[in-house]
Amino acid sequence: MAILNLKKIGVSGVNSALHKIVENSEKDFEIRNPQGQHSIACGINAPLNVEIKGHVGFYCGGMNKYAKILIHGHAGVGVGENMMSGYIHVKGDTSESAGATAHGGFLVIEGNASSRCGISMKGVDIVVGGSVGHMSGFMAQSGNLVICGDAKDALGDSIYEANIFVRGEVSELGADCIEKEVRPEHSAKISKLLKSSGINANPTDFRRYGSARQLYNFDVDNFESY
């Protein structure tokens, strides 16, 4: 285990250490004193285990590939934005746009996520232990967003082919987002994701939301929705 003291080497020092990985080099890292700094552990391109001991700012784990990143604290805007693969686990809450445009991998937020969680997600799986703010799953293209708490206004607005599962209350659905039947494959998916996340919830308590596919091609009779 290599210790990276951010207070001493700065964000660039930390990131360059995580980017300089060659075969047989150290795979386990602990980042100390993250001090809420931005862009920590972004752009990793190797199967590393990274533990961050504290809170992080914007874009932690951005564009992650392969790495497992555990954040022992809260995370700022865009945690795991555009990640491709790997696993990011936030012990605390996250700010806006968690997992934005992420193409793959697994993002777990034990606490609450703010607005726009999973915005434009393109294949990532996200589990939120608490609730999410407004506009979550906006234009979500594919992947699964599992919300154990409540969801605020405009959930899944203009959603494409992603699935949103909510256990609690949904304040309001966004344009073209409807409640859909939870089929056995969906229950199996929820169970699997909850199990991998380590968050305890009953998979049968969730409802599913997805696209009504009414806005996929232009139609003047949908005028009210545009």
């Binding site: 990131n15 914007f58 445009t101 726009r116």
Partner: protein, 446 residues
């Protein structure tokens, strides 16, 4: 009797002209706004309204072809450890794979590489063909993040964060179902055949303070090597430029309202944003006030057609220009040789702009495999490089006539304006006078 009364000539309304009437009928029949490609077609004050003075007794010209006139530029020297070195100050603008065929993207790469300049990806990601054929490739970072991935980011030579486009400042991308082929759909992680309306705001930042943090992230991911461009539609060039500098840009691209698009609402193209000419001076002023002129490079685009346009943009303070539409025309777009096919599409060569429908007979703005095959990327690439070289020689011709050993030495003092509007906008004197509208007469030209 009444037959003997002379009739007045039928008179059409200037307000309700034929085009307007046809658009009202079209809207009534279809219930959808008109979508098209290209840039603003209306006449706006432009670079044609400026003239160079040339040399005389007070300025010595340089000998054509004999005395050297440099055209090389460096982009991204502010923070990036690997700035771009281009042989000419004309780059190829970002045009997406999806809006353009893979062959067209490859041809753009080939042409740009022969001419020693860069090309740019677009809303839809990087194709293998364009990376292989582009010596210098700029990777666009757009609100949709279609095809955005760290592998291509690392393969890119620079990153361009797209805030807006001149054809539609404040609008998102648009690619209609007809052009969503299997390959396009896969690159964008979306079902085939659906209309794609990309977001107009970035999903994980809003405003200049966030942008600064976003730029920091992209620099960290790319280990501070790659220049970061910010592309802005011509809306508020003074403030947008100042804020881009503050956010940490290496290069700023300002795209005026004549700038092309693959597909946007006609009402947007023609009525939102400022003409290219109107964007240059405010942007340069912002850079000068911040002590960043020629340190943060300014690229101007939107309706650039020839070496004179390039020279004028540079004289007003730009470091380079970027071209979209003109590059497509060089590849073969709107070629009169295809007139029969344009007629079948209900249009004529020179006016074909239904690029969103994917039926381009030139094989450029299409995803149809048979149509795309019509464009030979090698021949088309060669045509583009010829055109880029001609523009560069035209630029040098003007620069030498103004006595400049490098094109970047062109300056506003080399210019006059043909109209009062252009004089006011470009802040150069009206020809034959020393009058710059809005300025006190400080210098006497005559």
């Amino acid at each position: 009797m009444s037959e003997d009364i002379p009739k007045t000539h039928p008179r059409k309304s200037a307000t309700f002209d034929d085009y307007t009437l046809s658009e009202i009928r079209r809207a009534a029949a279809t219930g959808i706004y008109d979508i098209r490609g290209g840039g603003a077609k209306r006449s706006v004050p432009g670079l044609d309204d400026l003239l160079f003075l040339g040399a005389s007794l007070s300025r010595y010209p340089l000998e054509g072809y004999r005395e050297y006139c440099g055209t090389d530029i460096v982009l991204g020297s502010r923070f990036a450890t690997n700035p771009l070195k281009l042989k000419i100050p004309i780059t190829i603008a970002g045009m997406s794979f999806g809006s353009l065929s893979a062959q067209a993207k490859e041809a753009l790469g080939r042409g740009a590489s022969i001419a020693g300049t860069s090309t740019t990806t677009g809303d839809g990601g990087m194709t293998k063909e364009e990376r292989e054929q582009s010596e210098i490739l700029i990777y666009q970072y757009l609100p949709s993040r279609y095809g955005m991935n760290p592998d291509d980011l690392r393969k890119a030579d620079a990153i361009e964060i797209v805030v807006g486009q001149g054809a539609k400042p404040g609008g998102g991308g648009m690619l209609l179902g007809q052009k969503i082929s299997d390959r396009v759909a896969e690159m964008r992680n979306l079902p085939k055949g659906i209309d794609q309306r990309s977001a107009c705001r970035h999903p994980d930042w809003t405003g200049p303070d966030d942008l600064e943090i976003k730029i920091h992230e992209l620099r960290e991911i790319s280990d501070w090597k790659k220049p970061i461009f910010i592309k802005i539609g011509g809306a508020r060039p003074y403030y947008d430029t100042a804020l881009s500098v503050k956010a940490g840009a290496d290069v700023i691209v300002i795209d005026g309202m004549q700038g092309g698009t693959a597909a946007t609402q006609e009402v947007f193209i023609e009525n939102v944003g400022q003409p290219t000419l109107a964007c240059i001076r405010p942007a340069v002023k912002a850079l000068q006030e911040l002590g960043m002129h020629r340190k943060v490079q300014l690229i101007v685009s939107g309706g650039i057609r020839n070496g004179a346009d390039v020279a004028k943009a540079i004289a007003l303070g730009a470091d380079a220009v970027s071209i979209g539409t003109a590059a497509l025309v060089a590849l073969g777009d709107n070629n009169p040789e295809l007139e029969d096919e344009y007629k079948k599409l209900g249009t004529t060569a020179g006016a074909f702009d239904d690029w969103h429908e994917g039926l381009d007979p030139a094989g450029i703005s299409t995803q149809d495999p048979d149509l795309s095959k019509r464009l030979d990327p090698v021949t088309a690439g060669r045509k583009l490089s010829n055109y880029l070289k001609v523009m560069t020689m035209e630029l040098q011709t003007i620069a030498r006539a103004c006595g400049k050993s490098h094109v970047l030495n062109l300056e506003p003092e080399d210019l006059v304006a043909l109209t009062v509007e252009a004089a006011a906008i470009a802040q150069v004197p009206l020809c034959g006078t020393d009058w710059i509208p809005g300025k006190k007469n400080e210098i006497l030209l005559s």
